[in-house]
């Protein structure tokens, strides 16, 4: 028999034994069969023959086990609903695929050792530098990313060492270790979740929550939501078209407290860079045209904030 054959033989036999005692209260069958697989594996390794040859049919084995354990058979009292649940659970845990899954899971341990080290570094990076743009794989050519990469490698080596060494832990420390692993997994969740959305947050930090795609990309300028151009002789100008250095229409981020009526161009599209914008407050109060004191030319003039106060002082 190969090792694989033995493993599946043990899994099958154990599953059949568990099924045969599934009528026992769960805590009792758990206590009885806790290390059944290890025990059977020992026998299989020694005997080198199918377990049924060595131990007889699993049902008989279960019967003998039950008798030796002194477990009451058949006359089990419990809540009917709970009993049904336990039976359902029992049939799952005693099914062959579950047993195979259980037998296979320990092989994934080293994968978790690597993953948890990676997650710990990720969590620490997120905790120590809030606002830092986390990447799933740090760029090792930046000093920051290099540090992260080295820390991850170090953590992985340490984690593997820890994992390989800490197998037979005493129950208390074992619980502690399991708890620590669970904490790592839980802490990693929000960090991983923020990793996907963080970059887009960083880019849009203006007060403009949504801007329809019809508009040229809005730009935010320290709370400016309208522009009042004046001629050099102090007359307010209307419908002044503003463009940036690339010739793109200069569109301001929308003011959530105001309604803006854009003039419609010949192509049917709103013209978003014609200033001053025609704005109304949402609460109905009218916007006042800012009163501007025009300093003597050639000093630069800047219109004051239209909302701040009706008598702004000119900027110097």
């Amino acid at each position: 028999m190969t090792t694989d054959d033995q493993a599946s033989d043990v899994a099958r036999y154990a599953a059949a034994v568990r099924a045969a005692v599934s009528d026992l209260p769960r805590h009792q069958s758990e206590a009885l069969l806790e290390d059944l697989e290890d025990h059977l594996r020992e026998i299989a390794a020694e005997a080198g023959a199918p377990l049924t040859e060595r131990l007889g049919p699993p049902e008989q084995y279960a019967q003998e086990l039950r008798a030796a354990y002194g477990a009451e058979s058949g006359k089990v009292q419990r809540e009917p609903a709970l009993g049904y649940l336990q039976r359902a659970l029992g049939s799952v845990t005693s099914s062959a695929w579950y047993q195979q899954l259980r037998a296979f899971l320990p092989e994934l341990r080293p994968a978790w050792w690597v993953l948890r080290a990676y997650l710990v570094v990720l969590i620490l990076t997120a905790a120590l530098s809030p606002g830092y743009n986390l990447h799933p794989i740090p760029n090792p050519f930046s000093s920051r990313g290099l540090l992260e990469t080295l820390a991850t490698i170090g953590a992985v080596l340490f984690s593997i060492r820890l994992g390989r060494r800490s197998h037979p832990l005493p129950p208390g420390r074992r619980r502690l270790a399991i708890g620590a692993n669970v904490v790592i997994a839980l802490l990693a969740l929000p960090v991983l979740a923020s990793m996907g959305t963080f970059p887009s947050f960083a880019m849009v930090e203006s007060g403009a929550p949504e801007q329809s795609s019809d508009f040229a990309s809005p730009f935010s300028l320290g709370g400016v939501t309208n522009v009042f151009p004046y001629s050099n002789d102090g007359k307010p100008l209307t419908d002044v078209l503003l463009y940036d250095q690339e010739g793109r229409p200069l569109t301001l981020a929308r003011d959530p407290g105001r309604m803006t009526d854009y003039p419609i161009g010949a192509d049917g599209q709103p013209i978003t860079n014609a200033y001053p914008l025609n704005q109304r407050r949402l609460d109905g109060t009218p916007d006042l045209q800012p009163r501007v004191a025009i300093p003597p030319w050639p000093a630069a003039t800047l219109p004051a904030s239209p909302t701040a106060s009706p008598t702004p002082s000119p900027a110097r």
């Binding site: 206590a31 009885l32 069969l33 806790e34 290390d35 059944l36 697989e37 290890d38 025990h39 594996r41 020992e42 026998i43 390794a45 020694e46 060595r54 131990l55 084995y61 279960a62 019967q63 003998e64 086990l65 039950r66 008798a67 030796a68 354990y69 002194g70 197998h167 037979p168 005493p170």
Partner: protein
């Protein structure tokens, strides 16, 4: 006498606890090793499931402590050993067994002395 054979497995049932405790008093041991040592000591018919079930019961009853020892080849082994409660149980059971077997031996001796066949 027709079939004078005694059902050893029935006999064993009553004293398996004692036998297992005695084996563990010699040295801590794991399930399969306990079976082997019982058989080596002449209890050929001891069933694997019986020993395993007995170990689990004694453990649940608080008479044994257990710890896992990793092995390089093969599965990890759960070793069982006597704790003070187990040692006390062993002493009491050994005492009970001693007086029981003494009584039985006495009966048997009287019988073999009386009428031979």
């Amino acid at each position: 006498m027709g079939q004078p054979e005694l059902d050893t497995s029935q006999l064993l049932k009553g004293v398996l606890d004692l036998a297992v405790l005695a084996v563990l008093a010699e040295a801590d041991s794991y399930g399969y090793d306990v079976v082997r040592r019982l058989r080596e000591n002449g209890l050929d018919h001891v069933g694997d499931a019986s020993v395993y079930g007995t170990l689990r019961r004694l453990f649940q009853a608080g008479a044994l402590n257990s710890y896992v020892v990793p092995s390089d080849e093969g599965p990890h082994r759960k070793y069982y050993g006597l704790n003070p409660r187990g040692r006390k149980a062993l002493d009491q059971s050994a005492h009970a067994w001693a007086s029981f077997s003494k009584a039985l031996n006495h009966l048997l001796n009287g019988r073999s002395n009386g009428h031979d066949h």
